[in-house]
Point group: C2
Chain length 506, copies 2
């Protein structure tokens, strides 16, 4: 029976993965060049396929199959006689199936309606910096997320089941502890860097023609190990990575002429995501539901590691700066490599999370994590959110936005109905730093290699420790397997301490 | 009951159209830039969606719905109380449903296997000009098509049901009669043109940079009325037009540097197809199964009318030649507009159908139509096809290919299993000429308009008489409604007579 059930699960898995990839084709096309008038029917196409997928995930026959494989709340990985890989597959579908079964259709309907309207209202509210306009929708979103938390159930904290949706296996208490340590370190470091004085990065905002940005970005991607026979690079308004097939992992970037910084680091960032997907959707995991990243934060660890730990490092630019200036001789005239390095690593508290530097970024996330918990527990009312936001900005970053557009209204996540997502961004930085510390231990001359433009060992190590396991294990488990220790935020702050003491002489 | 059945049909129609459009997205992506390694999974994605579509088309509930709407072999349009539009929809689905029901799964399986292998073998056979290699597959294809003809049933000619699949409502006897008249005229005209002497077209094969070809092609498309907010132009190995949505009709072209002719006329040709689709998938037909062209031949009438009747006309180049030479001053130096016009209309019998001029093209199609009929009746054995091919080439075009690669092996259609398709190409020319003759009658100064670069009336007339009806009527019916007469090949030969007497002074 187990054999048949496993066969049935894999056949269903294949159909669902194919559907997900087809949905990804439609999304990719929509973002990269679909004719504007096509948008309405495309929504119908996506809605039909998402409906099909939902039917398959919630099909009670899937429930029986998972049951036959021994899956239950007590044994979410199924029967212990199954292989690790198969247990990973059981875990993935049992998780989805049992979650969907707990959420009634009425909740889904209300959520869909509230967030559909909420997104449009949010966009308008942000434009006019009008929080009261968005307030009723945020109230609904909070109410719905509290209901969702109850429906899914929890033991310790009502925020747990929400967080778990985005970062399976992670608990609120653990994040809180880790973030508390990180907060202390970041605030101190931020102060020290600010005392060290102003950094000039104006040269990054000169006229950098797109053709050069594109050529340089593609060269770096190739050196990183991005396989263009299994992917392609396109342009879109917001950069993203998407899997349209096991051997079709595409990335997009945005060329923000005149400035160069955004496209360059977006390309490397998305390249990091893509390398992970390419490595996870290979071998026996290719084309299965576990041939993908372990979690959002683990994904973010790969993108941020390439973008920041590698891409903004002295070693990296030791090799690449002369190649960069070949494309942009005019723009970088008189700028030494060290000055360039300080420019791309400039730290300056600012209002907008997505524009934040490596040091203040974590503080932006902590702010949201703290507000979200308080909203879910009921300790904070929606009405008081703008005030709470601004006080926390003052406390963490020492600045206060003049408008809600630059404050509480800046992110789209709440309008999408997503509460529990933000922590994954900062966790990604923590995972990435911990992984890189392990890599440095295993490959002591990694910085020398990078400074010769040899990026291969970085990828090889990640393939070996992280990528090849796809989503077989949860992210915390995978991190511990890869590095030998549970999550420890000290690696991240040590990395930043070292970087900025080298850079700024602090 | 009728109301409910109609509602049910429309709901199913919507799902099938969405699926077809999603399939088109996958195909378009595959042809325009999908990473090479993605090809295997893309085949699985397409196979899954095609399977879903097939399930829907053959669903016995669809049969009941059509039955409730009064559809039967005697009344394929359903109940006479339905609107014209709804009867068109009933006709479309009754046709597909009852056809699929007649074909057993065993036939489909064999056909799929034979043609899958046959295509690969054909490609190899063509490369090495090895007909015996392809022969067993062609024998299977002929056998399967004869079986299919029997399964579908016919009254007069076994070729009828095959032809009807590609050109609904058209009969072998009618095509034979029409082609007989056309053959006589074309053979005579061909001889007269050849006597008139050699035409120089070498200037078309100079170095025409792609950027100029692209810019000129886009300008012409815009002038034709192609709506870039509902479509886009890309590159692919073989040019095509495809509907990815009611408001998403894309075309591709191929820039054959150095020469200019192929890309230029491909772009206009596909533009003609796209204008038809855009006009048919509008208003109440948008997003329905009849919001598309009436038939292959009617589609071809639109593409060839724009490519040849408009795009190779003196009037057209009176306006565009100076715009063309602006892009290509060097390449067209010393070439007068008249010389250019003679060059792009050069007539010369050659072996390959797809490269044929307007006069000999029809003869290539007649050859295939005659051979296909003989294969289906059993009057010709597959073994004798190369010999028959070459004799007919001699008879119709006065030349004999040296190799089967330049003869019987040149087209992919038989390897795909398609018998009955070829006539639609020539019928397209006939429909197009008849439509344009009507347009000339209705808009006497149309040539003057075109010579001022005003192409709008051509589109307006086609929208009014052809496009807006989508696939409500069969092509023969639509042609008669639009022009007031049944198909008459004299319009086509008269058009060619006039053109070449003006051009060559014959």
């Amino acid at each position: 029976m187990m054999d048949n059930a496993l066969k049935a699960l894999k056949s269903r898995d294949r159909e669902m993965v194919l559907l997900e990839h087809i949905i990804a084709v439609l999304h990719w096309d929509q973002e990269t060049g679909m004719p504007e008038a096509a948008v309405n029917e495309r929504a119908d196409q996506l809605s039909m396929l998402n409906g099909l997928l939902h039917e398959k995930v919630t099909d009670s026959d899937l429930g029986s199959i998972l049951n036959d494989l021994g899956a239950s709340d007590a044994h979410p990985l199924g029967d212990s006689s199954l292989s690790e890989e198969d247990r990973g597959l059981v875990r993935t579908y049992y998780r989805e199936y049992s979650r969907e079964k707990k959420i009634p259709a009425s909740w889904v309907k209300e959520f869909t309606e509230v967030t559909a309207k909420g997104q449009a209202v949010w966009a308008k509210a942000r434009k006019t910096s009008d929080f009261p306009l968005f307030k009723p929708y945020l109230e609904q979103v909070v109410k719905l997320n509290r209901e969702r938390s109850s429906l899914l159930g929890y033991t310790n904290h009502p925020y747990d089941p929400l967080l778990d949706e985005y970062e399976p296996g992670m608990k609120t208490a653990e994040v809180a502890q880790v973030f508390a340590a990180m907060k202390l370190d970041l605030v101190t470091l931020l102060e020290r860097i600010q005392i060290a004085g102003e950094v000039d990065d104006t040269f990054l905002y000169r006229e950098y023609p797109k053709a050069g940005q594109d050529a340089f970005g593609r060269m770096v991607l190739k050196d990183m190990g991005y396989d263009f026979s299994r992917g392609r690079l396109d342009e879109s308004t917001h950069p993203f990575t998407t899997s349209l097939g096991a051997d079709d992992v595409r990335i997009t970037t945005r060329y923000t002429e005149p400035s160069v910084s955004s496209s360059l680091f977006s390309t490397i960032h998305e390249g990091g995501h893509a390398l992970y997907e390419m490595g996870a959707s290979a071998g026996s995991l290719a084309g299965t539901g576990i041939g993908t990243g372990a979690s959002l934060a683990m994904h973010e660890s790969q993108s941020r590691l390439w973008e920041n730990v590698v891409g903004r490092s002295k070693a990296f630019w030791t090799h690449y700066y002369s190649r960069f200036t070949k494309h942009f001789a005019q723009q970088t005239k008189g700028i030494t490599m060290d000055a360039f390095l300080r420019g791309i690593n400039k730290v300056q508290p600012s209002f907008i999370r997505v524009d934040a530097d490596e040091v203040s970024y974590g503080l932006h996330v902590i702010l949201r994590f703290e507000l979200e918990q308080a909203l879910i527990t009921g300790d904070l009312s929606v009405e008081d959110v703008p005030h709470a936001w601004n006080s926390k900005m003052k406390e963490l970053l020492g600045i206060v936005p003049q408008t809600d557009a630059d404050g509480v209204l800046q992110d789209v996540h709440w309008a999408f109905g997503m509460i529990g997502y933000f922590p994954t961004y900062a966790l990604g930085n923590l995972y990435g730093a911990q992984l890189f510390a392990s890599l440095e231990r295993d490959v002591p001359d990694i910085h020398d290699q990078i400074s010769r433009g040899e990026l291969g060992e970085v990828l090889t190590w990640m393939r070996d420790r992280i990528h090849q396991y796809g989503a077989i294990y949860s992210a915390p488990e995978l991190l511990e397997r890869a590095t030998g220790s549970p999550l420890d935020p000290a690696h991240f702050t040590a990395y930043l301490e070292k970087k900025y003491s080298d850079l700024m002489g602090i």
